[in-house]
Symmetry: C2
Subunit: 145 residues, 2 copies
């Protein structure tokens, strides 16, 4: 993606030209299988231990979880807090950069809560992010105003 221009003029054109697409570059980091779900565990569910994440994500094998954690650490999104050596115990935490994936997780959550309410909520009623996490939105308002 060299340019974000469209032949028709009714579309989004960025004010500055991209050398590479920001979406593409981000998806290279976050787009692999399990990556966003691992981040969900650490960022939202507070599952920050190896086997906690495994239990919360059936199908995710230790091999792949190790790969994903290494990649995320390498990318600077998470860091390992060593609680104890031998037998090693680590706790995974978001970095400042990792914290900035929260809006991504929240927009994904909002999409699900709107379009898959039938599976998600007992009463099958779609919900907005504001309804689900009032506190999260108050925090955002405090920051942006």
């Amino acid at each position: 993606m060299q340019k974000c221009r469209s032949p028709k003029d009714n579309l989004l054109v960025p004010s500055t030209k991209f050398r590479v697409c920001p979406i593409h570059i981000t998806i290279d980091i976050l787009g692999k299988k399990w990556t966003l779900l691992v981040l969900r565990d650490i960022a939202i569910l507070n599952n920050n231990r190896f086997n906690q994440i495994r239990r919360s994500l059936p199908g995710l094998t230790p091999r792949v979880l190790t790969l994903r954690l290494k990649e995320l650490e390498e990318a600077g999104l998470i860091r390992a807090i060593v609680i104890r050596e031998s037998p090693r115990v680590v706790e995974w935490a978001l970095t400042e950069k990792g914290n900035d994936i929260m809006p991504i997780l929240m927009s994904i959550l909002a999409f699900g809560a709107k379009w898959y309410a039938d599976e998600i909520f007992e009463d099958h009623r779609p919900r907005t992010l504001e309804e689900i996490y009032p506190s999260y939105h108050e925090a955002k308002d405090r920051i942006s105003s």
Copy 2:
């Protein structure tokens, strides 16, 4: 993910219990390789023809593109507008549901524009979404207020 509660109380707890995780269910749809980039092409770049998308995404083969387009159509995110039969020409467009992935794409873009400015912008300066797409934000303000 049965519960979105954490042992510590400093974390996000949804106001309503989830039967399944909204993030998980959404990622089941959007999380496969190339899917979000195909949506980026249709939603933002206005590349809505088969070979347009192919040209814009080197490495994506016709086989996988066909698969992804079928999956997205099946999921109700895109629909085919038949321009001409025999030889068949179709244009892919977002449905109403598909339009709701825009916030996801935009949050991904915002993350990239903040943390990968070095590769993205000639001047290496991070940018906010508001700076990149002023018109998109004006539209959002009009809607929410």
